[in-house]
Subunit: 295 residues, 2 copies
């Protein structure tokens, strides 16, 4: 099967898992469940849950154990999108062709739905981890998700990104944003998956390297696609970085050098997992897909 | 010592604990730490952390083990206040005489600071629980906090409260709001404290009853004080419920009946803990303080 077909199949599988874990739309507080589920059902590549499941599988772990973590990471990703889209932040009316959460449910419910999804992610991970034979492992896995989602991870990156609007920033600061806003939770979810799968320290390190490299590369490619991408294929507007005078890899280092770095990171990502297992075809494919999305 | 002096001493003790756990204001993302710590340092009675510590103590537990939970519950309470104060929700410029978070840091940072505090609460609980001799106990305790903070607890209550503005609602729905918006996390933090303290099932049940009763009574007294309270003593405006045409205990059942119910709940709260230990003086005092705050 072509890599893209495999990716789509895996995304469909994740859709099914999400449906099982979505809160039932019931009770006085029904609206908040509807608002949560509206954004959870909005599609997307489901890359983070797929990577969580794959990290567990590649170290020989049991998929059943890691499913709640895969679902939870998508809830965290989704809450961050709902809050990013709010008028006080990006003020976006549309995401993936659908009205954003606050347009449908109002700003008050969108704020609360975001809060609720973050909280629910922990409810899902915690409640499924109670009573397991190795509870400390589960504490460590949830902690990986928690620390890469907060001020030393995703939120930290988001804050600096917001504060860097319309400003020229250093490459060091741009790397901080890219590494934290995007790569951090990719690292967190893959480490969580690997920990649940009883990874050795060495395996965990290799998976961390893979996650870090594809995460940063993903953002660099996003920067590049904003210049050379095809709006129709990407399904979103291009050119907004230049329009917003945003510092990006291409603006700081040029297009060619940026492509070179993205390629080199993907090479490193592949190197770090190739020794892990014989079954790294999917993760290799994903690494290549990240740079081949468009150009 | 007078009860109020004891309460103040305990609050000061909690202030010290909070300072130890506040994130260091450092790095590119410094602003978010400042925004988090600004609201965490805004004072208040610190009832939730005090109750967390007390629940552990009363069942003979070790205070050191429960401190991260006491701190975390105040972080969750604080995030809920930051988000409640936002223009899209209560639109408050002042809280406890200080400018609200979004007035000082902007709406974008206030949304992110709230998110960050919720996330950080879990980081604090999780990271302190790893490597303990009974990790499953810690998972269960964190889960108590998580489930009472989310859509089946605090957020659920908040959502229905927001949707009930300017509407007459049934007593059943009002009880849902009171029980979830306020009582739920009091139950959650006391249960977490008791679980960490190795409470028996019976002890846990008695503590849950106490928490449930003081939580609901607290809200009923708040409703009453909004009618008969003294603005100077309360430190906040009274009469806003009538002004906003809000359904409250007094509006649905009358002032006298409301006082009667509040008193009866406090009696039940005291009954359920009096058999727990000989050292229930503080929890008894707190129960009485809740109804004696003003009238």
């Amino acid at each position: 099967m072509e890599f893209q077909a495999v990716l789509k199949e895996k995304a469909l599988y994740v859709e099914g898992l999400l449906k099982k874990y979505m809160p039932k739309e019931d009770g006085y507080q029904k609206t908040i469940m509807e608002a949560m589920n509206y954004s959870l059902s909005a599609g997307g590549k489901r890359l983070r849950p797929i990577l969580t499941l794959e990290a567990c599988k590649i170290v020989g772990g049991n998929e059943e154990d890691v499913i709640p973590f895969a679902v939870a990471i998508e809830m965290i990703h989704t809450y961050s999108l709902i809050h990013d889209d709010l008028p006080a932040l990006d003020n976006d009316d549309l995401r993936r062709g659908r009205k954003t959460n606050h347009i449908v449910y109002g700003e008050d419910m969108a704020i609360l739905a975001g809060d609720a999804l973050l909280n629910y992610a922990f409810e899902v991970m915690l409640s499924s981890s109670i009573g397991k034979t190795n509870p400390d492992k589960y504490l460590r896995a949830i902690n990986e998700i928690a620390k890469t989602s907060g001020i030393y991870g995703m939120i930290g990156g988001q804050v600096v990104d917001v504060q860097s609007e319309d400003k020229q920033i250093s490459k060091e600061k741009l790397d901080y944003i890219h590494n934290n806003k995007t790569a951090a939770i990719i690292i967190g979810c893959m480490r969580a998956g690997a920990i649940i799968g009883d990874a050795t320290c060495e395996q965990l390190e290799d998976i961390t390297k893979y996650a870090k490299n594809i995460g940063l590369s993903f953002q660099i490619v996003d920067d590049i696609l904003d210049i050379v991408g095809d709006e129709a294929k990407l399904g979103k507007k291009v050119g907004s970085d230049i329009e917003n005078n945003k510092s990006t890899y291409p603006s700081l280092l040029g297009l060619e050098k940026s492509k070179e770095i993205a390629n080199s990171l993907i090479g490193e990502a592949k190197d770090s997992i190739n020794k892990l297992s014989e079954d790294v075809k999917f993760l290799n494919g994903l690494a290549e897909y990240i740079i081949d999305r468009e150009y």
